[in-house]
Each structure stands twice: as C-alpha cells, then as structure tokens.
Symmetry: C2
Subunit: 122 residues, 2 copies
C-alpha cells in the first residue's frame, strides 16, 4: 500500500484521468493560460471534467491556480516546477504519436469498423 510496483506505476497514477496529460502538455507549451483558453485548447472536454482534473492536478502540486479576483472573473493556470518536469517526460509520447500517425490512424479506423459490426450484429 505504501509502495508502487515501479516508477512507471507511480507516474501513471498521478496522470490517471482522461485529460490530465493533455492539460499538462498544453500548459507546458504556453505559460499561464486562462480557463477559457484552456478549455478551447483541450478539445471536447466539458467544464465539469476540466475543473475536476485541474483541481486534482492542483492538489497534487503539478498545477498552480491564480485567481486575480477581478470582475469579470479572471483565473489562470500554470505549471509548478514539478508539473513542468512531468510535462517534459510527456514529450517523447507526443513525438511517438506524430511519428506514427499513419499506423495509429489505420489501427483506429479498423477498431471502429469492428465496433460497427458488433453493434449491427446485435
């Protein structure tokens, strides 16, 4: 219970959540980012999910939230040093995805076709 099976296991638990890696990675690209901008950047994310993941990231010490106490409201999010280091560890994954976009796309088209068949068979 106090331990993880390995370093990768530990990391995976921290970034568990559908949107966390994407959030971290986007924040790493652009410095402090306002809520609205972040939401547009991470496509298809809902308010509920974005906020929830941001809170967890903040509680985990990866992201820093700054509330400027203005009206209209203005809040932005940035990475802590810890968050920044994690975001850098994500870079190779991003590169892998770009380098293998063709294969990945093909694989997913195929998987979608199977899902289609399964749905129509039922």
């Amino acid at each position: 219970m106090p331990g993880f099976t390995c370093g990768l296991d530990a990391t995976l638990r921290v970034v568990a959540g559908k949107w966390k890696p994407l959030i971290l990675y986007f924040l790493a690209q652009g410095g402090p980012t306002r809520y609205g901008e972040l939401r547009r950047a991470v496509r298809d994310v809902s308010d509920k999910m974005l906020i929830q993941q941001l809170k967890e990231l903040e509680a985990d010490g990866l992201v820093k939230r700054t509330d400027y106490k203005e009206v209209p409201p203005r809040v932005d999010y940035s990475l802590t040093p810890l968050g920044r280091s994690l975001a850098q560890a994500l870079v190779p994954l991003c590169n892998w995805g770009e380098a293998n976009l063709v294969e990945v796309t093909r694989v997913f088209a195929q998987r979608a076709a199977e899902d289609q068949r399964r749905a129509s068979r039922k």
Copy 2:
C-alpha cells in the same frame, strides 16, 4: 474523426487501458515473456484484464503473440518494433516516477486520507 488533436492525443488512445503501459514496459525489459510470468510481473492484474489488454495490443500491432502449440500450453509475448519504440517513449515517465517517489507517495497518502474522511462522513 479521422484526426487527433495532437500527437500526444493519438498516443494516449493507443495506451488507453489501465495496464497497457505497464505491460509494454515490462516486455521491453525482458524479451519474450510467458503468459504466467507476465501475470506475476504486472501485479494485481486479473486474467481477464491481462488477456484483454494483450489482445488489443496485439491487434494494434504493438505486441506479438507466439503460440508454441505444445502441451502443456506454452505461449509467449514480445514487442514488435512499433511496440518497442513506444516502450522507449515510456522510459522518461518511469524515471520521473522514480525521481519523484517521495512527493508522489506523500500526495497519495493525503488523497487516501481525504477519501477516508469522505467515507466516514457519509
């Protein structure tokens, strides 16, 4: 629909699943691995989950399954070149986890404490 928002997004979909990164990483460490050994290595995984994830990895062209058609059964799993390249992209995540084990452990102890309070409050 044909596209991902970025390379990272594409990669994340491929490794979606609680155990896939761990499986890939373990296979990268040790060459062809028998089913039973893999199961012992990836701790706490059930047969159902391990098989399911392995099948998806195989369908995605990341893992190669070899059945020796013997009795008693003997099967082993290894990485394809594509799988190997992805596993390498996982290395920095593993290192990050090891380098920050202390923080991660603390964060999780804290999170567990909160869950405790929430459970007792109810």
